[in-house]
Symmetry: C2
Subunit: 334 residues, 2 copies
């Protein structure tokens, strides 16, 4: 499968796509390219980095709302309401913006970025698309009595706890997970696509959390992932933002699709009804190609219709002429 | 050969590169990937679109300077001096900005773009990176007495004349050249890389122009490409702009290297001393990867040193930490 940039009648550029579609038992049910490709999960790991909030009782202790759980899993657009939600979340756990260690960057939404530039808004850490995740990590530290300083470092108990959670869901032993520094400074995870997809598929399994809890001797926690999944499904507007692919896909199929982007051409999804996990990587890291590819993969898996924003994308030149298009070519092998 | 985006110890994304290195007789002397890949030449065709200025006597008639010939071949940065040069060129051929049909766009130089935005400069057609080429096309029309209207269209004699010139240098018959609409609205050419490289190699051959001229029965024109090549080699600052790869490469090897970028990951070069032409395409269209790949290819062909700006490029995250790098991996096969 690839995403083609066509101009006139020929393909000008080509983005190769690797895809794994996996069931909760880790069985590969469909693929394209190399489902065992190892790459970084980037922000598509956020639901699993947020899971300790529920599994460890952090959400209960601090009275976190579903909105707060959703923003912990988000690569948000820095929309005013999203930034305010992170500020509320910080206040609720007794932290402030000064505790955040994510770096600032222009909002992922071009419209929001322009608006803030026009208005002269100073972009601080709370505006980072990862500020919800960072706040969740601070909450985890507060809850366990760990220091909030240096929470981004691999050796910090917060990162070790997230790594353990990622290992459990992906079924990759901790020593086999490649680690590096993410765009926002925390640890990111190098894993085969097949295992990323398997983790998403398991989010749909009611007793997977129970089995985890049992193995830790904390049988009272029955299903931590349910709170994460339900929070995400109910708040597509918080997971990304207006006009962005995760939000468009989840709004097009309410309660049925959970979609989460990662940087450098990574995309993951859970098909709730089918209990399938999807993980894909555009080999060259092209973000728009990854979004179009995910929409096409979901369509091939029976999730229709594809949102209009994620169909073939016209290539418009500086004179406003449509001179070609970016479109997906190829089918999943089943 | 590929350009790798590394993060920590693993390759996160990969840009495949196809390369053809060809001598003036069209012999492939080195390659990587598929040297017969067909893609659009885009702005790397500009020297050949400018050649009729000299071959048809346009430059002589209007008294065009070397600077004007250079800007005709440029994808310039819209720097103030470059824009002024295009305005002078327009005046010299009795045209005005209103005759230009290129669409406006933010300058290719980030610094120039920021500066113009701060100062509220209104970006009109003359600021297009292709405004020199468009002015050259207007000059060609003026010279031959063709209408200046609709000069961008395939059926217009200006585009037919350029197509003929491209066919002659690339040794691809006109009917076999795929045409489409370029980013600036004129015709662009779909060709195998090997033939693009061959055309660049022929720029170094003193009698190639003579043979062309003879075939047209105009034996008095001895070497039109010499004026184009010398104009480009003497004005690396006009071919792109401060800090951009074409300019850096040509300044690092004055008189020895002629480098010309095209959009969507295309790069071409002439090694003057060796008489070799290079054409490469990053399969997915990544522009920075193409520049790093060209610098690496030239180094492998003995053109040293590589400009510092075109070595491995650190990947710096939002916290200012270096978390990886973009670098070329692989050798030409000879």
């Amino acid at each position: 499968m690839h995403v083609e940039q066509r101009r006139g009648t020929i393909v000008e550029s080509r983005h190769h796509v690797h895809v794994a579609v996996v069931d909760p038992d880790g069985r590969l049910v469909a693929r394209a390219g190399d489902p065992d490709l190892v790459t970084f999960w980037r922000s598509a790991a956020k639901p699993f980095q947020a899971l300790p909030l529920v599994a460890d009782g952090v959400a209960e202790k601090f009275g976190l709302t579903r909105e707060m759980l959703a923003i912990a899993c988000a690569s948000h657009s820095s929309e005013p309401a999203q930034v305010q939600l992170v500020r509320d979340f910080l206040a609720q756990i007794g932290c402030s913006e000064r505790d955040l260690r994510c770096g600032p960057h222009p909002p992922l939404s071009e419209q929001v970025a322009k608006d803030y530039e026009t208005r002269g808004v100073r972009l601080t850490a709370v505006y980072s698309n990862c500020s919800g995740k960072h706040t969740a990590m601070l909450a985890l530290a507060r809850h366990h009595g760990w220091p909030t300083e240096f929470y981004t470092r691999l050796e910090h108990p917060v990162q070790q706890r997230c790594l353990e959670e990622v290992s459990r869901w992906t079924d990759v032993p901790v020593p086999e997970i490649k680690t590096a520094v993410d765009g926002c400074g925390v640890v990111c995870y190098g894993l085969p696509l097949r295992h990323m997809a398997g983790a998403y598929a398991r989010l749909a399994i009611a007793d997977f959390g129970l089995r985890i809890a049992d193995s830790k001797g904390e049988g009272q926690i029955r299903n931590p992932q349910s709170a994460i999944v339900q929070s995400m499904l109910r708040h597509p507007d918080l997971i990304a933002g207006t006009g962005r692919p995760c939000t468009d896909l989840m709004r097009a199929h309410p309660g049925r699709v959970l979609a989460k982007v990662g940087a450098e051409g990574v995309y993951c999804a859970l098909l709730v009804r089918e209990g399938l996990g999807v993980a894909l990587k555009v080999a060259d890291g092209h973000g728009l190609a990854a979004a179009l590819a995910l929409a096409a993969v979901l369509e091939q898996l029976g999730v229709r219709p594809r949102p209009a924003s994620l169909g073939p994308r016209p290539n418009v030149n500086t004179r406003g002429e449509t001179v070609g298009e970016l479109r997906v070519n190829g089918e999943l092998e089943k």
